[in-house]
Amino acid sequence: MVIIAAIKIQSHIPLAPGALFTVENPAIVQKWMANGTLPLIFTAQSIKSVTHDKFRLYEIPPVPQSKSQHGFILSGVDITLLNMQVTNINCGGAMCDGLNMYQNSVTADRCPCYNVLDREGKVCLVLSLKVSDTKNNLQFCVHNHTSKSLTQLFMKRIPKGAVAATITGNQKHMGNLSTKVMEMLALGNDYDGFNISGWIKRGTIADSGVVQPPTGSKWDKPQQVDSGGLTYHLTKIAYATPPSDRILGEYQFNAGSLV
């Protein structure tokens, strides 16, 4: 008798931002958040991660007039770099992708996939990007965008001991990194652009035109009106036509040279 053990390493797509999943026989929505505009989904069973490797996802353009939170998918957009900083994030998993780790100029102390077992300082880029979609005649800017996957797209061989100061403290490293990031964005723009997904939600501000009643508790909210500004949030950025690994390797910033 001959026993052959075949060891197969399977790489599965985590349920990180941008991943697809299904809910079978979903329950009827019974509860809503945000004044009835945001449905809450409850399921007694589990969700299933699915792949869409054979399909090109269709576009879902943003709807600025929407009163509720609205997700969008755009393909073939141009992205240009407006500003770039480097920070440390404390994201230990692969679930949240380190999104929204630098909000209102404050670095988050922990991420949604934080756990005490696996925590290490990771270098992450804080990017300000300008997105141009010529098909939909749309332009918007995204500020303070953090993403672990996008950082790992721009930087290869990030040493575990590297911190943000390793890069920011050396003008040569910082200059090389920003040049590489701009070249990689130009590579995508010149070819088929980028596929992005994200969300918008028109916020509300306190109505300054009326006399607000005194608030007794934190649940008492002043009268609100729709905010004039609309902030775009990106959750996934990827090449529309991914270049080969060899080309990527030529363009990526080699973070192994930091140490």
């Binding site: 052959i4 599965h12 299904t22 949604p112």
Partner: protein
């Protein structure tokens, strides 16, 4: 997305319909053809390796007249034909009649603003469990608008397709204020919130929330390869499959 490539055929092309199969032709654009209709220029071709210069174009063969009628039926369901799905509008769907038979509450699907997009069918989605399992052709999509419309929606053999947007970690005193169908307001606690986008939802209202915490969607990750929101979440795993092959003298061929 990064995992997509040009050599993939559009989602709605039936593999059994030979007349509608796209003919993929490879062409290497010359330097003179570097400019494109949308104004984008090709990368500096001289600096790139040869494999990066290849562009693939997908062309569709004109449908036969008998199939065109069914194609028109399929397009009628997409009453929000905004043109964003340009590649798929002229493609015949082999299983359109099966998958578009929705429940009785589907009358709302014909209301204005309802988005019946021609994305991948449930039977064309691969469940990410290491196998190549797909949904049965009897399964069809349901969307958020239908789940919210009334309480008598039939959800048997229905599946809803989401894309993960982002997660939110609760602070110590974070609570969610929600209203139910009767209009009563209450509060719920959570540990994390998963914001997801329904890919077939009504235009302008396609985001929903999963509250994750004790007793709330507790089993949500249990079938996703045990990828709970721990350190193991999202990491590769090693699947060991034992292949037994019995070899004995009796299996030998005697002549």
């Amino acid at each position: 997305m990064a995992e997509l490539s040009n050599e993939n055929s559009p989602s709605t092309v039936s593999p059994t319909s030979t007349s509608t199969e796209p003919t993929v032709s490879e062409s290497i654009p010359s330097r003179e053809d570097a400019s494109r209709e949308d104004g984008k220029r090709k990368p500096n071709i001289g600096n790139l390796p040869e494999d990066s210069k290849r562009m693939k174009s997908v062309q569709y063969v004109t449908q036969p007249s008998s199939e065109k009628n069914e194609s028109i039926i399929g397009e009628n369901f997409d009453d929000n034909n905004t043109g964003s799905i340009t590649d798929n509008n002229e493609v015949f769907h082999k299983n359109t009649s099966v998958n578009n038979v929705d429940s009785g509450s589907e009358s709302s699907s014909n209301s204005s603003g309802f988005t019946r997009r021609e994305g991948p069918r449930p039977s064309e989605l691969f469940i990410n469990d290491g196998s190549r399992q797909c949904y049965n052709v009897n399964w069809s999509y349901i969307n958020l608008a239908q789940l919210q419309s009334t309480e008598d929606v039939c959800v048997v053999n229905k599946v809803i397709l989401f894309q993960v947007l982002y997660y939110v970690l609760a602070k110590q005193d974070s609570k969610v204020e929600y209203t139910n169908r009767s209009g009563k307001t209450s509060h719920a606690t959570f540990e994390r919130m998963l914001f997801a986008m329904d890919l077939h939802a009504r235009k302008g209202m396609n985001v929903c929330v999963f509250l994750l915490g004790k007793k709330q969607n507790a089993e949500i990750y249990s079938s996703c390869l045990d990828q709970r929101d721990t350190s193991t979440f999202g990491k590769n795993y090693i699947h060991v499959s034992w292949l037994l092959s019995l070899q004995s003298k009796s299996n030998h061929i005697y002549r």
